[in-house]
Symmetry: C2
Subunit: 268 residues, 2 copies
């Protein structure tokens, strides 16, 4: 795992290496590695064992990790880092009532996500049935090009941003339906900007389809996307599709209006 | 805001000050402070402006914050720090199906939380209706003594841990019903250990009540608590209460069994 850098220029003397390294150690814990020894964390992060040891001891002192016989694991305190984001954006306050209405009417799951690098990140989600093999929750990340929300977000990038995206991303097939051709994706993005929504069928996982629409701030800039996801067979059903799209578009608009009213407008 | 230290001893030369400071800057963002300038962050964290500046530039370079005219705000990337915890604990995989059944049968919200210092932290939640003025989500924190899950978790601390808790906590009244007397709380904890569940009525917020029960690991140690929360009037209703408690206890037991089976047993 390497540390990802954004394009922002920063003087070398201003960059705090130990902060970057500490955050990369937190990220090293995962489903496959719920506990890590110093040498395991060293392998994952490519940092030296003495560096890892000091980082883990510091994180333990601060209450973010705990140890048992030389094996470290994260504590719930780590959640408060992510919570600072959720809380500072007022996402639940703004989006939850509208998402709840949508779930009540459609009986299907809805999520909101934003773009981070080449991936979408879930920032709000109300699940109904468990249909995906991937378990999704707030903070989950998925490749943008293979998801409905990702395609909506990519469709509204500037030409320059989209160039950066395509130079960073590696397009791979998850199903037979995944679009992996750059010009096919660009064509799709043009369609999305015209129609204002997208239906993505089984491009990430067999049996799963979703429709998505953009959420805008007061200046009309697309800052997030909202979807309805369901079994492919249910969503393909013409009738439902015709019912779902106006509902989704109305929900996206209501959330956009409420975001414009709040003072957290441009920062989502 | 001061940095909280746990009781773990660590040599001064091992403690990475800049990592601790960086994490405290992430925590400085909140609902009241969604964006921060260098001097605002300096006031909240008590760190010098040059230190804050370097931290924010580093976090920006890493993609965790972004800036606009000297005002910084968190990005969705911060969620991936909390997600490392959720993912590494397999919480959703294990608890979600059981919580979902409970919500389907009762029609009320359910949550799971763990103790962190004097507070409970929500690690899983399926909300139904929005009944609290406080918006709760994964990562939300509440004072342990005024909540049903908190009282369950405190009831199962060791005598020494409970002494530490009482020396750290400041007991204040949120409603007329909040228990703020230490000996009354200890008496309550004794009752909880006997009965195996607790009903907490309107001790945190008027109109809100909840029942909670412990979740245990393979060794029988209480590692989390699960609740059902609802309007005070609904939950007080004797019939519902009698139906809810066996349902909650059954759910807690099923989750405990599944946790025992998983290899993330003792690390929740």
């Amino acid at each position: 795992m390497s540390i990802e850098y954004s394009d922002n220029s920063i003087k070398n003397e201003d960059f705090i290496q130990s902060l970057a390294r500490g955050l990369s150690v937190i990220q090293a814990f995962s489903n496959e590695h719920p506990t890590l020894s110093v040498s395991e964390a060293s392998k994952i992060t490519n940092l030296s064992r003495p560096a890892i040891r000091r980082i883990l001891l510091t994180l333990e002192k601060l209450g973010y990790v705990k140890s048992k016989k030389g094996h470290f694991s994260l504590t719930a305190r780590v959640l408060s880092l992510g919570y600072a984001y959720i809380s500072s954006k007022n996402i639940w306050e703004i989006a939850h009532p509208h998402m709840k209405s949508l779930v009540d009417i459609t009986g299907e799951s809805t999520s909101i996500s934003v773009l981070d690098g080449t991936e979408i990140v879930y920032v709000a989600r109300i699940p109904t049935k468990r249909i995906m093999t991937i378990t999704l929750g707030i903070g989950s990340r998925l490749p943008a090009y293979a998801t409905s929300m990702g395609q909506v977000l990519l469709a509204h990038l500037s030409t320059l941003e989209l160039e950066h995206y395509f130079s960073d991303v590696s397009l791979e097939s998850f199903t037979r339906k995944t679009i992996v051709d750059k010009s096919d994706l660009i064509e799709k993005f043009n369609q999305i900007r015209e129609s204002g929504w997208v239906l993505v069928e089984q491009q990430l996982e067999e049996g799963l389809s979703s429709i998505a629409a953009p959420i805008r701030n007061a200046e009309g800039k697309v800052i997030a996307a909202i979807n309805i996801s369901a079994h492919a067979s249910r969503i393909r059903d013409k009738v439902k599709k015709e019912r779902f799209i106006p509902l989704l578009l109305k929900t996206a608009e209501q959330i956009s209006i409420d975001i414009s009213k709040s003072n957290q407008i441009s920062y989502l």
